[in-house]
């Protein structure tokens, strides 16, 4: 049997295995300390390299804001992509942990989108001369933040958690159309925001002395996201257990009283 097929089968089995929350929690409890440690190490390395990175010939030291702004932009988009995949898991395959994964990703993605907008604004003032402009890239990222807030509001205000999860899943899928718009906004429209400098035909235009710290910081931020995501999923599973047990307690009290 071809190796790719075997590996795919193993992966699918693993995802199905982890549908059991207890098994998932056991794995997360073992993994999290290592993930926290690895995240810390990567951030130390990344910050050290970022501080040592050379000044840009045009914008000077303000290029150091890129080491925060670019990773958080990617994670804001990655968070929504994760929510969309989780939404398919909820609506189509009914994977038990899919809506937990989606709900856990929402506040994290929102936070990183917020960081992206704020750091971008602080970067724009000295380099562009303005904190904000309604160009396609900035506007579509702001729309992403508003969509995140919409999803969070759906979870927060739902009377029935199941219905809230389904509504959030649908919004996650609908909002996914924003992701290619964000990505290609700098190509499709005239934007003040610069065009692609990394993932483009012809390779990156950024010098390795700045690109390498950027990749390390991106790795650090991504590992932070993964760590936080698993921790929030764990909290959500525990929260549901508490709710179940409180409902059982209430039921037992009601029966004892009747």
């Amino acid at each position: 049997m071809p190796l790719a097929l075997l590996l795919t089968r193993r992966l699918v089995m693993a995802v199905i295995d982890l549908a059991n929350p207890t098994r998932f929690l056991a794995l997360v409890n073992r993994l999290l300390p290592w993930l926290w440690a690895a995240t810390a190490v990567l951030f130390v390395a990344g910050i050290y390299r970022a501080m040592g990175a050379p000044d840009d010939y045009q914008q000077g030291a303000t290029v150091k804001i890129m080491f925060l702004h670019v990773p958080s932009a990617w994670l804001g988009m990655f968070g929504w992509a994760l929510m969309s995949v989780a939404a398919l898991g909820t609506l189509v395959w009914r994977h038990p942990l899919a809506d937990v994964a989606g709900k856990a990703a929402a506040p994290l993605g929102a936070a990183f989108t917020f960081i992206c907008l704020i750091t971008g604004s602080l970067w724009g003032r000295p380099t562009w001369g303005t904190y904000w402009v309604w160009d396609a890239r900035l506007t579509s990222m702001l729309v992403l933040l508003l969509l995140y807030l919409g999803v969070l509001a759906l979870y927060w205000t739902a009377e029935d958690p199941g219905r809230g999860a389904r509504a959030a899943a649908i919004l996650s899928l609908v909002g996914a159309v924003n992701l290619p718009i964000i990505k290609f906004s700098v190509d499709w429209w005239n934007t003040l925001h610069q065009p692609e400098s990394i993932f483009r035909m012809g390779g990156p235009t950024i010098d390795p002395s700045i690109l390498t710290p950027l990749f390390i910081m991106t790795g650090a931020f991504t590992l932070l996201f993964v760590t936080l995501h698993l921790a929030v999923m764990r909290n959500e599973i525990l929260r549901r257990r508490v709710r179940t047990m409180q409902l059982m307690q209430a039921q037992a009290l009601a029966e004892a009283g009747a």
Partner: protein
């Protein structure tokens, strides 16, 4: 390391990021501690979930 004439913007950007990330980590850890406490209380009072009873 000189941060140049726009040092304030660079420092502010790093400060905001640190604040938000620290807030996320604090939220996750405090929430976990609170949930563990409540679960401990409930289990001490003898309330268990169906699956725990069949496992245990």
């Amino acid at each position: 390391m000189s941060l140049g004439p726009h040092a304030d913007f660079i420092v502010a950007a790093y400060a905001v990021t640190l604040f938000v990330v620290a807030g996320l980590i604090a939220w996750v850890l405090l929430d976990y501690a609170a949930l563990r406490r409540v679960l401990g209380d409930l289990e001490a009072r003898g309330i268990t979930r169906r699956s725990r009873r069949t496992e245990g």
